[in-house]
Symmetry: C2
Subunit: 192 residues, 2 copies
DNA sequence: GTCTATAGCTCGATAGAC
DNA sequence: GTCTATCGAGCTATAGAC
């Protein structure tokens, strides 16, 4: 256990999580991870058999984080509109990194769609967790027959804004788009 | 010159273009390119000094293709709305590959934002060519003060839809979203 | 211009001492 | 559980014959 209360396995996952986000999965080597985690290379194989196993652990951690954020939204308010708007803020809270490296889930999805089919499915699961939560909220707001397509539309808007903010490294565009998205949600939910 | 009338340099760029799209830049090796192009590895360095030089040539080719597509839109119609709708169709024409590998410009942008800053700028140029063309069309449609933000919004929509179609490998979602996007354009331009 | 051979390096993964 | 040493494969890039 170190100062943050993480054991070696958790230290490896934490270091890998950051490096995979900043440099991409295939561009991150065991040496990079071991340097950052402060754990010798050879030691890794006691905890993980392959590099893919490390990515699986990282993706599981990101999935858990998303579930936690959704729970935070539930705790934040009882009002569906407030919950959805809060989700926006929470997901795009880390503005600087989004502008620099894109969406932590969307970019790894993009990378994996060009190589590993197995791991790609794990990322789809994360999107599906988010999408289903949004769909349920749309249902609760009385938008029954459009709930599925609206959940997809909301995710697509988020991803699109993130990609462009990353392309142009434009934090102002990101902020303005969040405001527009809030307005879209407000119009959508008030009209019902 | 081969059957397609391409010289060796063009053959390399063509093979690299496809492989970078399908497997990503860092995941594509010289061997992969040489196998596909049918040209020995060592021969590459007569045409390109580094792997980055090949990517630069590929990005230049993709940029040229986008410029050609925009010219096709100009030739297709004199009506701004028809031109913008035609652009949508042209950009998302290759449905199968978009669902499998994402946007050829957006995904390389995502990969490069995690590594090379120099090459990233070349991708931003491609986006900027597209965006400026759209902005000019919005201006021509009488949407002067919103033309810049509308051009960004249109690109963001396209990217978002592409990312989600790729995440879910859902070609129907892609098609439905194009229809929605057309409706958005119609409402926007008719209201003015 | 075209090709073979290979240098020099880094990679993911393993073996085995402690 | 922890660590060092290292393997074998693959990588980008180069040298030099033809």
């Amino acid at each position: 256990m170190n100062q943050q209360g993480l054991n070696n396995k958790e230290l490896i996952v934490e270091a890998a999580d950051q490096l995979f986000y900043q440099y991409g999965y295939s561009q991150t080597s065991f040496s990079d991870i071991s340097d950052k985690a402060g754990i010798p290379r050879g030691n890794f194989y006691y905890y993980f058999k392959t590099k893919d196993d490390i990515l699986t652990a990282v993706l599981t951690q990101r999935h858990q984080l998303i579930k936690q954020l959704l729970q935070d939204c539930e705790n934040y308010s009882n009002d569906v509109k407030a919950q959805l708007i809060y989700l926006l803020e929470v997901l795009l809270r880390d503005e600087e990194n989004i502008v620099k490296y894109g969406c932590p889930v969307g970019t790894i999805s993009s990378e994996l769609s060009k190589s590993s089919v197995n791991l790609q499915m794990q990322v789809t699961d994360i999107f599906e967790t988010l999408r289903q939560w949004i769909e349920i909220k749309m249902l609760a707001a009385g938008l029954a027959e459009r709930s599925k397509s609206l959940s997809m539309e909301m995710l697509a808007r988020l991803q699109g804004v993130t990609v462009l903010a990353n392309v142009y490294h434009d934090i102002d565009f990101l902020r303005q788009s969040i405001q527009q998205h809030k307005q879209w949600l407000t119009d959508l939910l008030n009209a019902n």
